[in-house]
């Protein structure tokens, strides 16, 4: 593993790790606030029990998110000084707002987690909402910083340096809206399905059915609604990518030859050598329609780009297919969820489906970030700075990689183990009390 690959692996791994906890940290507060609201309004103790249970889980997951986020803020410089040297002054603005938002989130979560007995009930409730709002805002700011790497704006590039920097224009670059929308919906969807899935399994096991049913209704109200909206957000994002980063779109779709009536492939593996798709079902004209609203529109293929500027096509295409496939399934499950709720009961097979869907959203988030990050390669700032020119000169990056690999794997194992203990303990106690 050379230093560049090691640095990329470290960054990818740290981001992929942090994003799970970030997604939880910015959406769970809304679920908790909803449960807490129902308790305060209806006085039903089950909702208080549920809030407390979620609070304990969130406290653990939030801490992991906070420290892994700290790591990322340092790693920007530890791994990519050549990037931060140019990009810091241009995209620091969303980071500074993110810092502010996260600061408020950190204060609010302290109040919310520990302050129930020290504040008036509704003041305490509002601190929970503040955690959610500031967390959600900080997510949007971070994604705005990332979107600038895809559609750099707010500066002139003169002789290898940025001039006439305009941080405001950089922040509101052309990709911020579709990326943020897609990500925030994705977070709601992934966390809603993960939490709903856990409670569906517990319900099926016959543990505290009342609590678990209420829990899964709250979580999946958010999750299923987001899952149903997501295809629209995804379609919007796809069209923007077609316009702004045609090489990325071509890699996503395994589209080698520029042409009209471009086919959309379901499945299939792109063969970079022969520049063809192996396998997969082609749907003629559909890619043209999806990308440009017209079955006969021309879609730019990879042939328009020098070979050295291609992203790793196979990875991007497979990751994209995984994301879209999962998204489709989740939208369908989400629609069924509302349908069964309206009918008044969830059949057991459907609760099984919900249980099986537990990890889907997180998988889709990871796949989506592979699409956007690997799909931007070989650039770190699209069309301006190459990743290999931004990497740190420090040698032995592979040790940096191993250190964080071991640290994060241990942390992930510990977190899963703790969550298991948490769930078992609460559920056993509740079931014991109910029977």
């Amino acid at each position: 593993m050379n230093d560049l690959i090691a640095a990329r692996a470290t960054m990818g791994f740290s981001l992929g790790f942090h994003i799970i906890f970030a997604a939880i940290g910015m959406t769970m507060p809304f679920f908790m606030s909803a449960a807490h609201y129902l308790y305060l309004k209806r006085g039903d103790e089950v909702y208080l029990e549920l809030t407390k249970m979620w609070v304990k889980g969130v406290a653990i997951l939030f801490a992991v998110g906070a420290v892994s986020g700290t790591v990322l803020s340092f790693e920007l410089g530890l791994l990519w000084p050549g990037f931060m040297q140019h990009a810091g002054p241009i995209i620091g603005m969303p980071f500074s707002w993110e810092g502010t938002a996260f600061f408020i989130e950190a204060v609010a979560i302290g109040l919310f987690l520990y302050g129930r007995k020290r504040m008036k009930p509704w003041v305490h409730w509002w601190t929970g909402v503040a955690v959610g709002v500031s967390g959600f805002a900080s997510g949007i700011f971070v994604v705005a910083a990332n979107s600038w790497m895809n559609t750099p704006a707010g500066f002139d590039w003169v002789d290898g340096a940025a001039r006439n920097i305009d941080p405001v224009a950089a922040m509101w670059n052309r990709a911020w809206l579709h990326e943020s929308l897609h990500m925030q919906l994705g977070a709601l969807q992934a966390v809603g399905f993960a939490v709903g899935g856990i409670h569906a399994v517990l319900y099926l096991k016959g543990r505290a059915p009342d609590l678990n049913l209420k829990a899964l209704k709250i979580a999946l109200t958010f999750g299923a609604a987001a899952a149903i909206l997501q295809p629209f957000a995804g379609h919007f994002a796809g069209q923007r990518v077609a316009e702004l980063q045609p090489a990325k779109l071509a890699a996503m779709e395994g589209h080698f030859e520029t042409g009209r009536r471009a086919p959309l492939y379901i499945g299939g593996i792109p063969d970079v050598e022969t520049r063809t798709m192996k396998g997969g079902i082609p749907l003629p004209g559909l890619l043209s329609f999806v990308a440009h609203d017209d079955f006969d529109a021309e879609v730019t293929g990879l042939d328009k780009f020098p070979r050295e500027d291609w992203p790793p096509v196979v990875i991007v295409h497979v990751a994209f297919q995984v994301m879209v496939g999962i998204g489709t399934v989740m939208a369908a499950v989400g629609a069924l969820f509302f349908w069964f709720w309206r009918k008044g009961a969830f059949p057991r097979w459907f609760l099984g489906v919900l249980g099986a869907s537990m990890p889907l959203g997180m998988l889709a988030i990871e796949a989506g970030w592979v699409v956007t990050e690997v799909g931007r390669q070989p650039w770190i700032v699209y069309g301006i700075v190459r990743t290999r020119d931004a990497v740190t000169p420090v040698p032995g990056m592979v040790y940096h990689f191993y250190l964080f690999l071991v640290l994060y794997l241990a942390l992930a194992a510990a977190t899963v183990w703790l969550m298991g203990r948490q769930i078992m303990k609460v559920q056993t106690r509740l079931s014991g009390g109910a029977q």
């Binding site: 653990i60 801490a63 906070a66 803020s73 931060m84 002054p89 600061f103 302290g110 504040m119 420090v394």
Partner: protein
Amino acid sequence: MMTDILVLFIGASLLLYVLLGGSDYGAGILELLPAGRLREKQKHVINDAMGPVWEANHMWLILVVVILFMGFPTIFTTLMISLHIPMLALLAGIVVRGTAFTFRHYDAVQEPKSQRVYTVLFSGSSLWTALWLGIIVASLNRGIIDPRSRDVWTAYVAPWWGLYPLAVGVFVACIFAFLACIYLVDETTDAELARRFRRRAAAFNCAVIVAGGLVFAASLGERESLPVTFFKNPWTLGVMGVATLLFVALWLFVTRHRVWLTRVVAAGQVSLILLGWWLLYAPNALLTATGPLGFYEQAAPEATLRQLVIALVVGSFFIFPSLIFLLRVFKLKRAGG
């Protein structure tokens, strides 16, 4: 003008990180010491004192990082390249410290075996992180950081290697532990434990002075030793003198159980030490082998600085009231009652 404000924010954030975040590390360091039958009680006091605030306290460090990479990118990247190894050590410590502390508190099954593991990880990494923080701070102005070099030893190890950075690390750890003792005295209703915190505050007070002497002694081997730098700078000398004299006031208040006066005086002393250090080197952020890297020379373009200042000032209007609310809810009520 914009740079002035940003330098002020960096200084203030560092100070608040030391005063608030530092005491959280100090609490971890305290748990490394023998505690006998008060161990469990001490653990609960520290859990309750740190739990609601440690994440907010930690944010001051993030703020410094963000201001540096947006406003002073060359200083940021030089630090991250030349001090890559200590930064990595610091990060590993931050990750282990924060998670071990939270896991210990929120583990659903509180059994002695796993609790012991969390405590060892939490307290060990608190000391580890404090040491590396000191090592990094000491490395900033030694004049050894060499941005031109790509030789492994000269470029990546020599800048932080040596007795002097280690001595500063020990000094920082002692200051953190001292602050923790002072703050914790009134977090407990248990008279015996409070007495222990008071005794340990006295011990760490002495340790701070001894470690300060060590820093001076170790600096004799540096390119420019501290005694020399100190006497060139009457302000630093004066500030350090006042900090030392304040120990008299501190112990007067401690023995008379004046909770808030004690806390304020101790925090004031630590602030003065930090101010003295700042006066020695500001407005240079780094002293490298090729000369100083100053905040004013290395600042980003004006448009960037303006946006950063706006974000910080507007952010302050949200952050400070919410922080004050946090402290009111968790600290004032207890100390008053």
